[in-house]
């Protein structure tokens, strides 16, 4: 009678351990990427449609361009629409495939023009 209880306890322990591992596995969930330039700082949600939140500086226009250096892909620049104060959403999808993309954000506004670049992993 006691042995099955022990077995159940061990099984629960192992299952709990496995749940802990899978639950805290890195890469689950999309996080915004914070990038700072000299004049502006942004937080970007790097998935189609890309959303740029300007956290520092007063940007009036934002343009995005994506390249995939390892594959030699460059995508045409994409305009954005301002949906809220300091919040810009890409007008078109940018990422043609999964992988590591380099995104250039061109911001212009009261502080002048600046290009901020960052790399991100895209997996859909």
């Amino acid at each position: 009678m006691r042995r099955p209880r022990i077995l159940i306890a061990i099984c629960l322990l192992v299952a709990g351990g496995l749940f802990f591992v899978t639950a805290s596995w890195p890469g689950s969930g999309l996080a915004s990427v914070k990038v700072a330039g000299d004049r502006y700082s942004v937080a970007v949600l790097p998935a189609d449609p890309v959303e740029v939140r300007v956290t520092s500086g007063r940007a009036e226009a934002v343009t995005l361009a994506a390249v995939m250096p390892s594959m030699g892909h460059a995508r045409p620049p994409v305009g954005t629409v301002q949906t809220d104060v300091g919040r810009f959403v890409a007008e078109e999808d940018m990422f043609a495939m999964d992988g590591v993309w380099e995104v250039s954000i061109t911001l212009s506004g009261a502080e002048g023009r600046e290009v901020i670049t960052f790399s991100t992993v895209v997996s859909r």
Partner: protein, 415 residues
């Protein structure tokens, strides 16, 4: 009782083996990042002198980031430093003198940073990443299981209550830990905090274009040589140069006849833009070669040429020469030749190597950069293969007593 003690001993053996296995795992060294046990060394050629900046590795954040400057030749050169986070824009500043105490800048988090180094009116912007080790989730499971097994066994022995439950639980915990340990090579290793996302595919070649300011430099006058690097596929500026042999780029400039030679390390002034200030004593055509290495890619040579006008400076010395010892004495194309040089004294490492040998074919088509080994601290030995018959111009470089020595010679390959 004896049976229980034997069981306990049997349980302890895998625990000890596993702990030793875990302790023996060491972090690999990286070349273009700052992390625990891995200092970043970047050599930059300013007009006032060549400096190697050393950014000491950190094992946690926030932490002071110690930056110091070294030089072969002691100088009083002062550098202004500005560290800027490319994540939140936070800044910290400091100033250092070559060979003196390091400046303590502040790294508040892991991730990308930019170090601006100002020497007089020259500014170099060095991008790098601060990495902080992070353990994978499965290692926590393994460690926890080993800990549980250890506590049960030790507790059982001390309290002399080695019941079936204790032995069974300890065995189960050990089994979980051993299974995870055996699966470890197939489980994903944790990326350090702050690491850049990288594709395993490598990068396209870079295209380089050299230019000078002024467009036609004059002998004896300082001019700026600029190299603009563009991605061979997308045309974007190449801003992912790995620090290799302590510099993002090694630039070799030589006059067509080989009488003038420079091995310098240009400053990154903007993404894809490398500049260096030079002064040459002879007019004529100069050949420039930049050795670069894009991250996750192999090395690459980018070449160009420029013209210098004016009269030859009368005071210009022809440079130090050497007669090397060659094996075989008459080198043949396509076969290795060993070139030995006897330095004047004990060698110091320069750019992480005891010696460098630059070999250029007379027509400038071929350029090789070999690293030497110092046998018995008295002979520098280089081995390389020259591809075709012809005359090759060579420069051996090594450091002695705080001085960089460059000695030139020619190698004739008859057949």
């Amino acid at each position: 009782m004896k049976l229980i003690n034997d069981r306990a001993a049997l349980l302890l053996i895998p625990c000890i083996v596993a702990l030793l296995a875990v302790l023996s795992l060491a972090a690999p060294a990286r070349a273009h990042v700052v992390e625990a046990g891995a200092d970043l060394r970047v050599t930059q050629t300013f007009a006032a002198g060549e400096v190697t900046l050393v950014v000491a590795g950190v094992s946690r954040v926030p932490a002071p980031l110690r930056v110091s400057a070294q030089a072969l030749r002691p100088t009083a050169l002062g550098l202004e430093l500005e560290l800027r986070s490319l994540t939140d824009g936070s800044q910290s500043t400091g100033s250092i003198r070559v060979g003196r105490d390091p400046a303590s800048l502040r790294a508040s988090h892991a991730g990308p940073y930019e170090l601006r180094v100002r020497a007089g009116d020259e500014v170099s912007v060095i991008p790098f990443r601060v990495l902080v080790p992070r353990s994978a989730s499965w290692t926590m499971v393994m460690d926890g299981a080993f800990l549980l097994a250890g506590v049960l066994v030790v507790g059982g022995v001390l309290t002399r209550r080695m019941s079936r439950i204790v032995v069974g639980s300890a065995s189960a915990a050990t089994a979980v830990a051993v299974v995870v340990m055996l699966l470890a090579p197939y489980l994903p290793a944790a990326q350090p905090e702050g690491a850049a996302p990288v594709a395993e595919l490598g990068r396209p070649y870079a295209q380089g274009r050299f230019s000078t300011l002024p467009a036609r430099p004059a002998t004896g006058a300082e001019f700026t040589l600029t190299l603009r690097l563009a991605d061979g596929a997308t045309g974007q500026p190449v801003d992912d140069l790995a620090i290799h042999h302590e510099a993002p780029a090694h630039l070799i400039v030589s006059s067509e006849d080989g009488a003038v030679f420079r091995h310098v390390h240009p400053l990154r002034t903007a993404p894809g833009v490398l500049t260096v200030r030079l002064r040459v004593p002879q007019p004529g055509r100069y050949l420039a070669y930049a050795e670069i290495e894009r991250q996750k890619s192999g090395g690459q040579l980018v070449s160009g040429a420029f013209e210098v006008s004016g009269a030859a400076e009368l005071a210009s010395s022809p440079g130090e020469t050497v007669v090397p010892y060659l094996t075989p004495t008459a080198p043949t194309a396509g076969s290795p030749v060993t070139i030995e040089i006897t330095p004047e004294g004990p060698i110091q490492t320069w750019l992480g190597m005891p010696g460098h040998l630059i070999v250029r074919s007379e027509d400038g088509v071929h350029l090789a950069h070999a690293h030497g080994t110092a046998a018995a601290d008295s002979v520098l030995s280089f081995t390389l293969t020259l591809p075709e018959p012809g005359r090759y111009l060579a420069w051996a470089q090594y450091a002695i007593g705080g001085r960089l020595v460059t000695r030139s010679f020619a190698v004739a390959v008859d057949r």
